[in-house]
């Protein structure tokens, strides 16, 4: 019963997000040249709302996630933390497997399967990474990207943090198809997804404490820095870290001194499409 309720809640949330996206798109005046134009270029029509939730999220982070992650990082021995990471990764191998199959990456899917069975059996339920296969993180958003769906506007969700519309939809969809969630749903462990999300958050945050502090201290626009890092990181994940195929930003204008740099700008921001093309080429 509860899981049904949770389902409907999630669906409502999904609709709300979609609706907000539509409203936001309508609310943006077309063809404005200063702030609005810039927002369109970085595909962030909801920037004011996103900035608001960015602030909310970092306030919450300061209150709860960051202190917990600090304690987690400093109090626990390295071995325990590694086992937590390994366990979480192992739990996600089935969904990585499904995504890799859907992306046509059978090589990656084989690794996921191998890692899952080896680590579950020989690694005491995934606590130890015996297989050492170094599998990449795969999610439904990446699968959508490989299928050629554009990333859509940037979206900062309350609590969940940076996303794009594509990734947000993928995240909701993945909740329902994740084999780990299906198994626990059949065994009446309703709190499992929440606990898993919480532990994943602490695990991730404890490893990014210094890096994020650094970015916050040194950036002159923290929100924009995170947005840029998030997008670049997603592109990297979609390419499975194949940097050689990744389009590099076009840094070329030393000959023409004051000509418009339109070409570079468009190249830079259409790189999502190029990313997918390259990704497809890399697979063939």
């Amino acid at each position: 019963m509860i899981s049904l309720k949770f389902k409907s809640k999630l669906l409502n949330g999904c609709f709300a997000i979609a609706l907000a996206g539509l409203l936001g798109a309508c609310a943006t005046p077309p063809g404005e040249n200063t702030a609005g134009g810039m927002n369109a270029e970085v595909n962030d029509p909801l920037e004011p709302m996103n900035r608001y939730f960015h602030d909310v999220n970092f306030a919450l982070d300061e209150l709860a996630l960051k202190p917990v992650s600090h304690i987690y990082r400093d109090a626990l021995p390295e071995g325990v933390k590694n086992s937590v990471s390994n366990f979480l990764t192992n739990l996600s191998q089935p969904i990585y497997f499904l995504n890799n199959v859907a992306q046509g990456d059978l090589d990656g899917a084989g690794d996921n399967m191998g890692a899952f069975f080896t680590n579950t059996v020989l690694g005491f339920g995934g606590l130890f990474d015996v297989a050492q296969l170094d599998t990449d993180e795969e999610d439904l958003g990446q699968t959508f990207a490989v299928w050629g769906i554009g990333e859509g506007p940037y979206l900062v969700l309350p609590v969940l943090g940076p996303n794009t519309t594509r990734e947000a939809v993928g995240m909701v969809g993945e909740h329902f198809i994740d084999p780990a969630n299906l198994v626990v749903r059949n065994n009446d462990m309703e709190n499992f997804p929440l606990v898993r999300a919480g532990v994943t958050a602490v695990d991730f945050r404890s490893r990014s404490l210094d890096a994020l502090d650094e970015i916050e201290k040194n950036s002159i626009d923290f929100y924009a820095a995170i947005r840029s890092l998030y997008r670049q990181n997603r592109k990297n994940l979609i390419l499975d870290g194949e940097a050689e195929n990744a389009p590099l930003p076009d840094i070329s204008f030393e000959q023409e001194n004051d000509k418009p740099t339109l070409k570079q700008v468009s190249l830079l921001f259409e790189s999502d499409e190029t990313t997918e093309k390259n990704s497809a080429a890399a697979k063939n």
Partner: protein, 213 residues
């Protein structure tokens, strides 16, 4: 059985793909190989000198800063990077704004990255390899080996400039371009200030004043 067949297919596939590439690469041009080597040497030398200067406790803060600044300006094409980072706003900035921006950008980069490297604690820069990107650009792959945790991937992008000097034009940390990140950040500040470059200059001035005090 199936697993074995998949394995064979997986092993064979890259070989098939690689075959034409091998033939093309069988006659590597000597000049490009030499240039790749000099790119590699440049990054290696820079890494050593930077760590040497910043980990040297005999130097005062001012001296460290000075040495680091010299290293950055002699190895990076700061003018090109600065211009890329300002992006389309470069066009509408006037000469005075451009010069002030390049100056502030230089100070900003030095302050920011000096701190990052200054907090050096047992990490090691391991240079891996260099390859040509096109006829005048090179990528040098390296890794930061940390005492705890996995290594961090660090790639350097170099280019031969007009005077045929090899300069670094971008650093990519885990495939995230620093030049692009700064560019996105700066252009956001400009649009937050009604599209005026002066808004960015003001922000940079106050940021630098705050960090160096």
């Amino acid at each position: 059985m199936l697993r074995l067949r998949i394995l064979t297919a997986l092993v064979a596939a890259p070989l098939l793909l690689a075959a034409p590439a091998v033939i093309i690469n069988a006659t590597p041009s000597y000049a490009s190989e030499q240039a790749e080597q000099s790119a590699l040497k440049l990054v290696e030398g820079l890494g050593q000198k930077a760590v040497e200067a910043l980990a040297n406790n005999k130097l005062s803060v001012e001296e460290k800063r000075e040495q680091f600044s010299v290293l950055v300006n002699s190895n990076f094409d700061m003018r090109l990077i600065g211009r890329f980072v300002l992006g389309k706003h470069w066009r509408k900035a006037n000469e005075q704004e451009r010069e002030e921006f390049l100056d502030l950008f230089n100070t900003y980069i030095i302050t920011t990255y000096q701190k990052r490297i200054g907090e050096y604690s047992g990490e090691n820069l391991k240079i891996l390899k260099a390859r040509s990107l096109n006829d005048k650009e090179y990528i040098v792959n390296s890794e930061i080996i940390r005492p705890a945790g996995p290594a961090i991937k660090l790639d350097w992008r170099l280019r031969n400039n007009k005077d045929n000097e090899l300069k670094i034009i971008d650093i990519m940390v885990e495939n995230v371009s620093m030049a692009l990140t700064h560019r996105d950040e700066f252009s956001s500040v400009i649009s937050q200030n009604g599209g005026k470059v002066e808004g960015l200059l003001k922000k940079l001035r106050s940021h630098i004043a705050e960090k160096s005090s």
